[in-house]
């Protein structure tokens, strides 16, 4: 029993150390081994909209080291974007755009709008790093930062339609889009490009919250 506990702690530490490591070492992710060939991939038909992000069943980890799956967003209105924390140029700007959205919302809407930051750099963006990033940017409890395996990250990027090119000198070229997800996990609004007027996004959030 003691051995099991120790093993679990070690495994958990390994998971926390890097998100890009194969999730097979994580107790919580044990089911993911060969998940391709298990039949649990698709949620029961009819339960989730065809276009919903909730069809993604990969395992993620938050900035607190806790597990996260897309259906955790069920019933919430979420503003989502892909980032990487070591980004020197575009990400601070996309962060500024996201904060601009947050601060421009009226108080009632802001209290009910969730923000999700998905890292495109799981090799470097560990849960600890994400937590530090959260502090640097003074993000409150409405913000969830998540990382996963390379595979899950690639799948997420492709569902969102984010293009990512890893640069040889470190870092990434990538598209900059802010997504607004409805309570059903369907993308109902996109804000493409940096420094955009958030009016459309604010309106979309407001409508979805009704």
């Amino acid at each position: 029993m003691k051995t099991t506990t120790i093993a679990s702690v070690i495994l958990y530490t390994m998971l926390a150390a890097s998100c890009s490591q194969a999730p097979v070492t994580a107790p919580a992710a044990k089911q993911e081994v060969r998940s391709c060939c298990s039949k649990n991939n698709a949620p029961a038909a009819g339960a989730v909209s065809d276009e919903s992000l909730f069809n993604i069943t990969s395992n993620w980890t938050t900035q607190y080291g806790t597990p996260f799956v897309t259906t955790d967003l069920s019933g919430k209105v979420t503003v989502a974007a892909m980032i990487f924390t070591s980004c020197q140029s575009a990400c601070p700007r996309i962060m500024a755009d996201l904060k601009n959205i947050s601060t421009s919302l009226n108080a009632a809407d802001r209290a009910r709008t969730h923000f999700l930051l998905i890292t495109m750099d799981p090799a470097n963006d560990t849960p600890e790093r994400l937590k530090a990033f959260m502090k640097e940017h003074q993000l409150d409890s409405m913000w969830t930062l998540v990382c996963a395996s390379d595979d899950a990250t690639a799948e997420m990027a492709n569902v969102l339609g984010v293009r990512i090119k890893k640069l040889s000198g470190g870092g990434f070229d990538h598209s900059n889009t802010v997504y607004v997800l409805g309570k059903d996990g369907v993308i109902s609004h996109r804000q493409d490009g940096l420094g955009q007027d958030p009016a459309g996004t604010l309106q979309a959030i407001h409508t979805l919250l009704q």
Binding site: C36, K39, D50, E51, N158, I164, K165, S175
Partner: protein
């Protein structure tokens, strides 16, 4: 007696199956090497580690086996977020298609479907660098990028309209690695196809826009092979992962 008949039938069935299964899952080793991505300078060569690649594109018969084992990938059950309405549109039902297409490459499959298929085979989709490295080979050489006749042949295929009925796998040529149909049959999905960025959507002052226009510079080079490679790049940059296109299939690597 009854047992004997049964046994004979079994043997026949096995033999028939082995004939069909001839192309299934066969792989060829690739010793790796260096690949120079489009719009890159010499210093940006990508080191490709040794890997194995499917000798043939995945066929309709192969793919049928997959959907039989994984009903969630039948066309009536696939979610739009993972495969658009064109998914397996050339199949007559969830599990049937024109039998003449059994050994032709499966097309009208999304990146998500292709990725899942490879995972279930214990394989994965090739990265762009891996795919392009194998695609450099003609019948005799690992790198035929300076072979004019070869480049012209590839270019001719690229500029022809698609076949009305897709030929079977193995109908073009066997390259240096023993791999068939890298050119001349279908386009193929790659794991990181979405790394092809052609618009100014990246960070404002990054090298991206520059590289895009600088790409024109590399065109004047010795390497007209770049032209077909450019078309593949353009194709990759124009598709989304849930698109199902009549001339895009895939093969896996390990």
């Amino acid at each position: 007696m009854k047992n004997l008949v049964f046994l004979l039938l079994m043997i026949c069935a096995l033999r028939a199956q082995s004939h069909v299964a001839d192309t299934f899952g066969r792989m060829a080793p690739v010793k790796g090497g260096k690949y120079l991505p489009l719009y890159s300078s010499d210093s940006q060569r990508v080191l490709v580690k040794p890997f194995s690649i499917d000798v043939y594109s995945v066929t309709n018969a192969d793919y049928l086996r997959f959907v039989m084992a994984h009903p969630e990938w039948r066309k009536s059950r696939t979610r739009k977020i993972f495969a658009d309405t064109g998914y397996l549109r050339h199949w007559t039902s969830d599990t049937t298609f024109d039998t003449r297409l059994a050994n032709s490459p499966v097309v009208n499959v999304s990146w998500f479907a292709a990725k899942k298929y490879c995972e279930c085979m214990g394989k994965r989709l090739p990265k762009v660098a891996e795919w392009e490295l194998v695609a450099l080979a003609n019948e005799r050489m690992a790198d035929a990028s300076r072979d004019k006749a070869f480049n012209q042949w590839v270019l001719n295929w690229v500029s022809r309209p698609s076949h009305k009925v897709l030929p079977t796998v193995g109908s073009t040529f066997r390259n240096y690695y023993g791999v068939y149909d890298m050119h001349g049959l279908v386009w193929e999905w790659t794991y990181d196809f979405n790394s092809a960025l052609t618009t100014g959507e990246s960070r404002g002052n990054s090298s991206l826009d520059n590289t895009f226009f600088c790409g024109g510079g590399s065109f004047d080079s010795k390497d007209i092979n770049n032209y077909a490679a450019f078309m593949r790049f353009a194709m990759r940059s124009s598709v989304k992962a849930n698109y199902c296109v009549p001339n895009i299939g895939f093969r896996c690597v390990k």
